[in-house]
């Protein structure tokens, strides 16, 4: 288990003190994939680097595997670090070593086994990350995704209990990102190790994380199971992150269309429906139209996404009814609510 207790960190920069982390309290359960999302400069790297003592908190306590990391130093700290693997945005491989030698590196540092045993272990890990056949390649001969696989194999070399990932997919294209994320998920399932993922992309959180914390200007502003946070984002910044992911890259288009429809059909109602889990597969909307035949519906935009805990979909629709039949619209909305579909009526002020 990992625990941050009242952790704050202030850097003494030339321009004066910089408060990077403020009063962070977090508990990360064993065996889970825990995501921390935030914009650039939010303090994500500072936070994750406290877990292996690359940074020390100014105040507060960081506990990893029952150890207060900030109190460790010298040999004790180095021993603790062997239990914590880390992967990096720019891979940070040793370019003078081959793939296999890079994976052997942490074993040499831990002075584990002899050359032969180290090599055997490294070969297993190279296979685990799907790089068999490239053992003798140099990092410069690998693609970004392959380099990160080497990074992952290297991070796992000393059988750590925890894997830290600082923007590990940020330098990769979307396709490769997904492959690397799949690998992390697979490793979490197979080896049961706790993974702490730092990212600025909600996509990463949705794909692999069980829990998420939102970091804004050094503070945790929201925290919870990923599906909950996707369903009910509380803070404005979380909504922005969730939208970044759930709207299909055409958020701006949707906004424009909604504006126009609101202007041209002042009597119509525009509603955002949110479905989760199995609801996404049920014919709820057509049932609604059957029950309220006076209501006209047009679809503006819709999409569906997969998370580790199930799917989540959203649909923007416009509902209209003849003069005098306005009550029907309310009835339709009530029906949706009874089907546990979340509805959010969008009016022009919100835009």
């Amino acid at each position: 288990m990992i625990e941050f207790k009242d952790v704050s960190k202030t850097y003494q920069a030339k321009e004066g003190p910089v408060k990077a982390i403020t009063d962070v309290n977090l508990t990360i359960p064993d065996g889970k994939i825990y995501g921390i999302v935030g914009y650039s400069g939010a303090g994500k790297s500072t936070l994750i680097r406290m877990l292996n003592g690359l940074e020390t908190p100014t105040t507060g306590k960081v506990t990893v595997n029952g150890q207060n990391v900030s109190e460790l130093s010298g040999q004790r700290l180095r021993e603790e670090r062997l239990q914590i693997g880390m992967i990096f945005q720019h891979f940070d491989l040793l370019w003078s070593r081959t793939v296999l030698e890079n994976v052997e590196f942490p074993l040499e540092i831990a002075k584990k086994g002899n050359k032969k045993e180290r090599q055997k272990k490294a070969e297993e890990l190279v296979k685990l990350v799907g790089l068999q056949g490239r053992e003798n390649a140099y990092p410069s001969e690998l693609s970004g995704g392959q380099k990160q696989r080497v990074g992952i194999a290297r991070a796992l070399a000393n059988d750590p209990k925890i894997l830290l990932s600082d923007e590990a997919t940020s330098a990769l294209d979307p396709q490769t990102t997904d492959e690397v994320l799949e690998l992390l998920l697979d490793i979490n399932h197979r080896l049961g190790i706790t993974i702490v993922v730092i990212t600025h992309e909600m996509h990463v959180i949705r794909k692999i994380c069980d829990h998420v914390a939102v970091l804004d200007a050094g503070r945790i502003v929201e925290e919870g199971p990923v599906l909950d946070v996707f369903k009910h984002p509380q803070q404005a910044i979380t909504k922005r992150f969730v939208n970044q992911e759930t709207s299909t890259g055409s958020a701006q288009d949707t906004k424009t269309v909604v504006q126009q429809l609101l202007a041209s059909h002042p009597d119509g109602v525009i509603v955002k429906l949110t479905f989760h889990g199995d609801q996404a597969k049920l014919p709820i909307v057509s049932e609604m139209l059957r029950q309220f035949p006076e209501v006209d519906m047009s679809i503006i935009e819709g999409n569906i996404h997969q998370t580790t805990e199930g799917s989540i979909g959203s649909l923007y629709i416009q509902l209209e009814a003849e003069q005098g039949q306005q009550k029907q619209i309310q009835g339709a909305l009530d029906y949706l609510n009874t089907m546990r579909v979340e509805t959010e009526v969008i009016n022009s002020e919100q835009q």
């Binding site: 670090r81 040793l94 003078s96």
Partner: protein, 228 residues
């Protein structure tokens, strides 16, 4: 035979070959031995400069200041003056002030600071991320030096050593002029002072060849070890 015509430079029949080869050997010996010692000393000094520069402890600062001062001072003293300055020290250390061995102290003291700077630059140029990664894996400082800093900057260290070796060859010639032996000595005494131009010419040709060979070996090694 002692004229100054252009042709006199090519009357190689005037060359005493056994003496020429002996001088060549002395030049190579001085260069290689001082190069090895310069490599070791420069690596240590460069490492000290690199390691102490970013630290804030008072000791690190003092050491950094002293080493940086020494490096800068010895780097700025012209070589010919350094030899003269070091005559007493050379006498004390080597027991003589003539011959190839006597050239070593001044060769090393002038080239080591130069190489130390190149070493420091090579370490500075390394991606800081790799060092951090090693630290995150639990590496000791010594492991970082031997497994990260030196192997990862090897091409820069070797090309820096090549540059240093070539200036060392130049220095040996200068040292030769005041009695250290080698091709510089031969060209000066038997060539210039005895007015035997062919010897001067031949010594020059051999020095150029030695420089080329060093450059070639350096470039080839860098190319082979550079896996970036």
């Amino acid at each position: 035979m002692n004229n100054n015509s252009f042709a006199s430079f090519f009357q190689f029949s005037n060359v005493n070959w056994p003496k020429m080869w002996e001088a060549t050997w002395e030049t190579i010996w001085m260069t290689v031995v001082s190069m090895i010692l310069v490599a070791i000393l420069g690596l240590i000094l460069g490492l000290i400069l690199f390691e102490t520069r970013k630290r804030t402890s008072i000791w690190a600062r003092i050491i950094n200041w002293i080493v940086a001062a020494l490096v800068n001072v010895f780097r700025s003293i012209p070589f010919i003056i350094l030899i003269v300055l070091l005559l007493p020290a050379t006498q004390a250390m080597v027991g003589t002030i003539i011959g190839p061995r006597a050239a070593l102290p001044s060769l090393i003291i002038s080239a080591a600071p130069f190489y130390a700077r190149l070493v420091q630059i090579a370490f500075d140029d390394l991606d800081h991320g790799v060092i951090e990664a090693a630290k995150a894996m639990g590496a000791t400082n010594w492991q970082i030096v031997t497994k990260v800093l030196i192997p990862e900057s090897k091409p820069a260290l070797v090309s820096g050593l090549t540059v240093t070796a070539i200036s060392l060859i130049g220095y040996t010639a200068m040292a030769g002029a005041i009695g250290a032996g080698g091709l510089g000595n031969l060209a000066y005494l038997d060539g210039f002072q005895a007015n035997n131009n062919a010897i001067t010419m031949m010594a020059t040709i051999i020095i150029v060849i030695i420089v080329f060979v060093f450059q070639f070996i350096g470039d080839y090694t860098v190319k082979r070890i550079d896996k970036r």
